[in-house]
């Protein structure tokens, strides 16, 4: 009896291992638009990296800056997203590239920004990327619920990023954060080149 069982198991395993073309959708989670939005922010480097850059920048400046970014960025993102949903504007990759260069450069330089400057940066980043998200969401007919998911993810990412950096006191640890900023700025510079070359 053992041999037939092994044969059946082997054939079953072979069939399971023989995949057909899966028609999966990258955008949807199957759990609804709120979770789609949550995953979008976490899995889209165009949004994820600048958010983390701002979190690092605010974290380097301390608790007050971190808290300010934590609340200003999501609110501005939501506002920008609602405007994008209403306006259906175009999406230019140059904005993304510029946010990489600006925020990454400031992190790399460990720029001693005032609280007002951090607030302004958070507001601009939120309005700009939120607008891009809103415009993109408007195109496939997705709604404000997905935008809420994105905003929730942005809030979480800033909270995690800033709270990770704020307690860092060792020089080498802060240097690692600055090196990360230089990488982000470098990626942004290359993106500017790509965007200009492709005429986007």
């Amino acid at each position: 009896m053992r041999q037939p069982h092994r044969m059946v198991a082997a054939i079953g395993l072979a069939l399971v291992s023989c995949p057909s073309g899966a028609e999966a959708h990258l955008v949807t989670t199957g759990l609804g638009p709120l979770y789609d939005g949550l995953l979008h922010a976490a899995l889209t480097p165009e949004d994820l990296v600048p958010v983390l850059a701002l979190a690092l920048l605010a974290g380097l400046r301390g608790v007050t800056h971190g808290r300010r970014a934590l609340f200003v960025l999501p609110v501005a993102w939501l506002l920008g997203g609602l405007i994008g949903l209403a306006v259906h504007g175009g999406v230019s990759p140059r904005w993304t590239a510029l946010s990489f260069v600006l925020l990454g450069g400031l992190v790399a330089a460990d720029a001693r920004l005032s609280l007002g400057a951090t607030t302004l940066l958070a507001a601009l980043l939120g309005l700009g990327h939120g607008y891009l998200n809103g415009s993109a969401l408007a195109q496939p007919g997705l709604g404000a619920v997905e935008l809420l998911g994105i905003v929730a993810a942005v809030f979480t990412l800033v909270a995690l990023g800033a709270s990770f950096v704020v307690p860092l006191r060792a020089v080498w640890a802060r240097v690692v954060v600055r090196v990360a900023g230089s990488w982000i700025a470098a990626i942004g510079l290359l993106l500017v080149g790509w965007a200009i070359r492709s005429g986007a």
Binding site: A10, G21, L26, V171, W183, L189, L190
Partner: protein, 195 residues
């Protein structure tokens, strides 16, 4: 009889069709191609590691200032390459970077911070320009750039990590020997660039 299931399994596994589970094509390829690009040329690899080694020899603040400076200046060069801005003698500049950085490590050169940053930045332009002109079309620009910059930064990290042996006497000798190897390789690259 015992071999039959294994043979069936092997045959099916060999004959499997690829699963097209992702709608967006080429995204992962963009990241991994970018990650691989700086590692594909020994001239780039040696120069990047030499930057880290020299930074470790010089100590703080050069230890972190060089790896912070290089990616950004290199990206500026890459942007120029992407835009088609001509830069004469790119291969010669890359070979010269290996020679001079190798010599700096070999002699444990205590250059002023500004001079060290300027030298590394200058070479970064050449390396970046070469990468920029070689970037393949049809990739995800962002993911490719991320992989590319991360690989370059990791090469610096390797150089710095290895360079930490500088604190021991035997390590200092070993670092100087490594610098000599980089400089010799640079001479070979220069010969190849000119010939």
């Amino acid at each position: 009889m015992r071999r039959a299931p294994a043979l069936v399994l092997l045959a099916v596994l060999v004959l499997v069709a690829p699963a097209h589970a992702h709608v967006e094509q080429g995204q992962a390829a963009g990241f991994f191609n970018g990650l691989e690009h700086p590692l594909s040329g020994l001239d780039h690899v040696l120069a990047m590691i030499a930057v880290g080694l020299w930074g470790a020899q010089l100590g703080a603040p050069a230890l972190w200032l060089l790896p912070v400076t290089f990616p950004m200046v290199m990206a500026l060069g890459g942007m120029a390459g992407l835009l088609g801005v001509p830069l004469p003698g790119v291969e010669i500049g890359i070979a010269a970077s290996a020679i001079l950085l190798g010599l700096a490590v070999m002699s444990a050169l205590r250059a002023p911070l500004g001079a060290a940053v300027a030298l590394v930045g200058l070479f970064g332009i050449f390396h970046g320009h070469a990468h920029g002109t070689e970037l393949p079309a049809g990739q995800s620009a962002l993911l490719y750039s991320m992989g590319f910059v991360m690989a370059t930064g990791c090469l610096h990290g390797v150089g710095i990590a290895v360079g930490l042996i500088h604190r021991w006497t035997w390590g200092q000798g070993l670092l100087r020997a490594a610098g000599a190897v980089v400089a010799l390789a640079g001479v070979f690259f220069m010969w190849r660039a000119i010939a």
